[in-house]
């Protein structure tokens, strides 16, 4: 598999380690009211879609950037990759959940 790194171009997937659903960017505030329920969802609940999935990959054998990769779990087609940092910052600015939004 090849991952289109936004800074480095297409890179072999073997250079990366996989984490999971990009929703992990949306960590709840641990000091907020009702945080425990939010954390139970955050830690344990994941969607398992057949189709488009936005997910976190770490370029461990590369530039050590975390990416949000949009992948079709049925075909393994990769529709795009963004720097997770950019996604997280945009998320703060617009309040868009990290597991939604357009691939680049």
């Amino acid at each position: 598999m090849l991952i289109p790194h936004p800074l480095l171009g297409p890179r072999d997937a073997q250079e990366f380690t996989y984490l999971g659903d990009a929703m992990m960017i949306d960590r709840p505030d641990g000091l907020a009211e009702g945080a425990e329920a939010a954390f139970c969802d955050y830690v344990f609940q994941r969607d398992n879609p057949a189709g488009l999935h936005r997910e976190l990959w770490f370029h461990e054998q590369g530039d050590r950037s975390w990416l949000v990769v949009t992948r079709n779990t049925v075909t393994h087609e990769i529709l795009g990759a963004e720097l997770a940092r950019d996604v997280a910052l945009a998320r703060r600015a617009t309040d868009t959940p990290a597991d939604q939004g357009d691939a680049q």
Binding site: L2, T17, R27, G30, L31, F39, V43, R85, A88
Partner: protein, 977 residues
């Protein structure tokens, strides 16, 4: 049998080989199969289940029968197809799956018992008694039914892996593949042409078809000359593209040295990972047979194979042969054989009203309905309009039509589709992206069509990439029409083999149908059709046709089989690509490795690191003597240990302190510059994750350490936190584990020793107290970092210098510390020291323990949000009352065993009464007995209690007393002197 005329063998080069111990001769250019045929060896093996005599069935990688063991000793290689094994001088081959000599296999009795071995017999016969399966049935079946045997020795050869990138990968070097490669290479594209054979040409090498009125080999030779001049084309012979993976990645195996007498000199095979923007699949087609009664005798083979042996290798299994066909291609075999001087006893054509295409007896509208010959074919029965007659022949070629080699198009679950014109499955439209089939693989196998198709598909692939290609002038090809009719098997009462390798007959398919195992996937598993080394290359479509006939459905409605990688068997050794033994994963050496090696250290692997485990001295005969000495040296003098392997992360930035507050459960931001604090990390689910020290070198600069095992994982987690969770913080991270050599200097004399190396700093207790840190210079100007931290419980420091000075620093400290008793110690003593002090390590931080269990519950700050903090307080985790305790045997000589479970004295020992377990144990020279650490229910309130440590696996039971986990200096006075 003497050789026929012609052929592509080198008659000047004679090679000797053995088969089942008998010496034979062949020529360069032979395969083992052609050489065996040239020596009149028709019987080469026994079938899987019935132990029927079997011969060579095909002339290529689809071979189901002729599986042999090659070579001997550690290089013994089972299940090699004789049809693709290139002959070399000194080759040793043996037949497989027999008991006794091949021509008198004792297990041939299985054939008489065939009624008991019908489809699904495993599931029906060996059901009960249940216990018999593992002890009796399975071992017996495995011994009787099977393939070759392993040498049980390590593979002595070398394997490699390589990576290639290209615009176009052409899979197969036959007519279509050559035309495709030529078209693309001339257009300037980066092209890789891979073919499984030792020479290019594919089926052209086996045919007499002419190109531009000359033998096809002339055209191939001219092409090869042009290919050699094209730097953008890489031709890979003996290379099988075995699988298509995601995003245009193709797996291929190049058999670099399989054909050499001594393959050990260089690389035996190479695993290639080819990343191709486009690929043309020109893998050709595989002929199918027509099942009839007793159609599995040696001498009965595919008609195209019979023709290939005559044309390419100048051999024929018999002087008198017959052909059974349902198409014109079978007649071509007859013509080619006659041209080579072989007598054709008859062509039996299932089609009515066809005419002979040469001078041979033709039986039109007829079938072959039976055969005779115990160890090889002697006669066949021909049936026409209900009348039967027997004719003599020593070989029979069966031509049932050709199946395109669609395998790779199905590797991403693409389904081949039925082409009623070609009477075959052709590639569907849902194959892997970028892979285009051409020529015979696409159902366009007629020579002129294949050539044109190869060129056109290559041009089409390049056009996708924006490269213009001109179609080359292709040679004029002799016509080779197929003229096929649908005819799938000869009905009858006797057994007619569909799958030779797995002994699946038409009867088995009938039985599967009766038992409602009708979907193709059930049929396969019930009958074992299409399994094992050939994956049904010569069987699957015929089986489908039989099932279609039984169900009264069309073939496409009956189903199709799809294929998974690998196309042909791939040795595990080459998949490893040489990453075995020492090369399985990287070996990391500490900066003092060679120094330790020179002192005779015994090493142990910790993660990827080689660490000194202990340093035996003269006269020490047991590791415990060395370790006890090293431990005591730290407690009374000074010890030196390389701790470079602990993960080190440099954290800098205006928000570094705020960042670390969110990463660690305890508060970091209150730490003063020049001070160190113990830090505990939790996982987001609340369990303890990792620990280490956090040193504040400046307001905006921290150096944190992790455990050796988690160094990479913690760094990954820190980057995740930085980039994904808190991207707005001004903080930067870099792993400096390899950049700094770090040496622990531990023991009452450690200050005295360090004072001899530091340049100016004040190391007095007031000037550099416990948990102080500083950047300073040592040994006349070498920059260093000094931390006053202790894992052993003694006055101790860790000193870090740029990694390249680690070796020299260790030497210097040993020299300067000689009078202080400086002693190097390894991981074993390190472990004893930390257990004596009650420090948690990997055994305790194993993902099942909480901060509270470790006695660190109060460190988890409730005033701030940190990873895992909130979840550590959730119900269940907070309720866990197990606590870290120390354990000593009731009697001094007693044992403490890590892993043993703890029970109240006198209580029944069940899961319900389990009170905890022992995590770490060691002999403590300080205490003078074994000691242990463990988690115990309400452990903090049970000091003094006697417990039973049960180790039922080894029938052990020990009486232990609960004590403080701090066996040494529980008040911590020694740290602070």
């Amino acid at each position: 049998m003497t050789r026929l005329s012609g052929g592509l063998i080198d008659r000047d080069r004679k090679l000797s080989f053995t088969f089942d111990g008998q010496v034979y001769y062949g020529h360069a250019g032979d395969t083992l199969a052609s050489a065996l045929l040239a020596n009149d060896v028709r019987l080469v093996g026994r079938s899987f289940k019935y132990h029927r005599p079997r011969g060579i069935f095909s002339a290529g990688s689809e071979e189901p029968n002729a599986l042999v063991e090659l070579r001997s000793g550690a290089r013994q290689e089972p299940n090699t197809r004789a049809t693709v094994a290139e002959l070399f001088d000194g080759l040793e081959a043996r037949s497989q799956n027999r008991m006794g000599p091949l021509n008198r296999d004792l297990l041939a009795v299985n054939d008489l018992m065939s009624p008991f071995f019908a489809a699904g017999f495993y599931y029906k016969t060996f059901m009960w008694p249940r216990a018999f399966w593992e002890k009796l049935y399975e071992p017996a079946i495995r011994k009787a039914a099977g393939l070759g045997s392993l040498s049980m020795q390590a593979d002595p050869d070398h394997y490699d892996k390589g990576f290639l990138h290209c615009d176009l990968l052409v899979i197969g070097g036959g007519a279509a593949g050559l035309a495709a490669a030529l078209t693309a290479a001339r257009a300037g594209a980066q092209v890789v042409l891979a073919d499984e054979d030792s020479r290019l040409g594919g089926r052209l090498l086996a045919e007499t078809l002419q190109l531009d009125d000359a033998p096809a080999t002339e055209w191939i030779a001219a092409l090869e000359a042009e290919f050699a001049s094209l730097p953008n084309l890489r031709v890979m012979r003996r290379t099988t593209v075995f699988g298509v993976y995601d995003h245009g990645v193709y797996g291929a195996v190049e058999r670099v040295a399989d054909h050499l007498t001594t393959p050990g000199a260089g690389v035996r095979q190479t695993l290639w990972r080819i990343t191709a923007k486009r690929a043309v699949l020109a893998a050709g087609a595989t002929e199918r047979h027509i099942p009839f009664a007793n159609n599995d005798r040696p001498g009965i083979m595919l008609a195209g194979a019979l023709r290939a042996y005559a044309n390419r290798w100048a051999v024929c299994p018999a002087r008198r042969v017959a052909i059974f066909t349902n198409n014109d291609d079978g007649h071509r075999t007859a013509r080619d054989l006659i041209a080579k001087g072989v007598e054709v006893a008859g062509v039996i054509d299932s089609r009515k009203g066809v005419h002979p295409q040469g001078s041979y007896p033709l039986f039109d509208g007829a079938v072959v309905s039976d055969s005779r010959g115990r160890l090889g074919l002697t006669r066949i029965e021909i049936t026409r309009d209900g009348d039967s007659q027997w004719i003599d022949c020593g070989a029979l070629g069966v031509a049932g039509g050709w199946n395109p080699n669609v395998h790779l198009t199905a590797h991403h679950r693409g389904r081949p589709i039925w082409d009623p014109e070609a009477l075959a499955f052709v590639p569907g439209a849902d194959g892997p992206a970028g892979l285009i089939a051409a020529g015979a693989a696409a159902g366009r196998g007629e020579l002129a069509a294949a050539l044109a198709d190869g060129a056109t598909r290559a041009a089409q692939a390049l056009a996708d990439l924006g490269l213009a290609a001109r179609l080359p002038d292709l040679p004029r090809a002799e016509a080779s029409p197929a003229g096929q009719a649908a005819f799938w098997h000869v009905p009858g009462k006797k057994r007619a083999w569909v799958d030779m390798q797995n002994d699946v007959t038409v009867k088995d398919i009938v039985l599967a149908h009766k038992e409602n195992m009708r979907p193709v996937e059930h049929l396969k598993r019930w009958t074992t059709l299409g399994m094992a080394t050939d994956q049904g290359k010569t069987a699957n479509v015929s089986a489908l046709a039989v099932m279609a006939e039984l169900t009264g459905q069309s073939i496409p409605a009956t189903g199709t089989t799809i294929f998974r990688p690998p196309y042909t068997p791939v040795a595990l050794s080459v998949l490893g690509g040489g990453d075995t033994g020492r090369h399985f994963r990287p070996h990391r050496l500490t900066p003092t490795h060679h120094w330790a090696e020179a002192r005779g250290a015994v090493f142990t692997e910790v993660g990827q690191w080689m660490r000194a485990q202990y340093f035996p001295q003269a006269g020490e005969t047991h590791w415990r003597q060395s370790v006890d000495r090293e431990v005591l040296a730290v407690r009374v003098g000074v010890g030196l240990c390389d701790v470079t392997t602990l993960g080190k992360v440099d954290v800098q930035g205006a928000d570094a302190a705020a960042f670390l507050d969110r990463l660690y459960a305890n508060t970091i931001s209150t730490l003063k510059v020049g001070r160190v604090r113990y830090g505990l990390m939790l996982r987001e689910d609340g369990f303890a994750y990792d620990d280490g020290t956090v040193a504040r070198m400046a307001e905006d600069h921290f150096v944190v350490t992790t455990t050796t095992a988690n160094a990479g994982l913690v760094y990954r987690q820190m980057e995740f936190a930085r980039q994904c969770l808190w991207p707005d913080l001004d903080v930067q991270l870099i792993s400096t584990t390899d950049a700094w050599a770090q040496i622990a200097v531990a023991g009452p004399q450690s200050r005295a020793l360090l004072e001899r190396v530091v340049d100016t700093a004040d190391l007095s207790n007031a000037g550099f107290p416990f948990m102080a840190c500083a950047e300073l210079s040592i040994c006349n100007g070498l920059r260093a970092r000094l931390f006053r931290i202790s894992f052993s419980g003694e006055l101790a420091y860790e000193v870090a210098v740029p990694a390249r000075y680690g070796h020299a620093l260790m030497q210097r400290l040993m020299e300067l510390g000689e009078d202080l008793g400086a002693t190097p110690y390894g991981t074993e003593a390190l472990g004893v020291l930390r257990i004596e002090k009650g420090h948690a390590a990997g055994n305790e931080l194993n993902g099942h323990s909480t901060a509270a269990m470790l006695g660190l519950g109060r460190m988890v700050s409730a005033k701030k949000d940190a990873i895992g903090a909130l979840m550590s307080r959730r119900e269940g985790l907070a309720a866990d009352r197990r606590r870290l305790v120390g354990l000593v045997p009731e009697t001094r000589s007693g044992k403490v065993t890590a892993g043993a479970h703890l029970f109240t004295d006198g209580a029944e020992q069940t899961m319900e009464t389990d009170q905890g377990w022992i995590t770490s144990a060691a002999y403590s020279p300080h205490v003078g007995s074994m000691i242990g650490l463990g988690f115990l229910e309400n452990g903090d309130a049970r000091e003094g209690e006697i417990l039973i440590a049960a180790n039922p696996l080894e029938g052990e039971s020990q009486r232990l007393r609960v004590v403080s986990p701090h066996f040494v200096d529980p008040e911590g006075g020694r740290l602070r002197v």
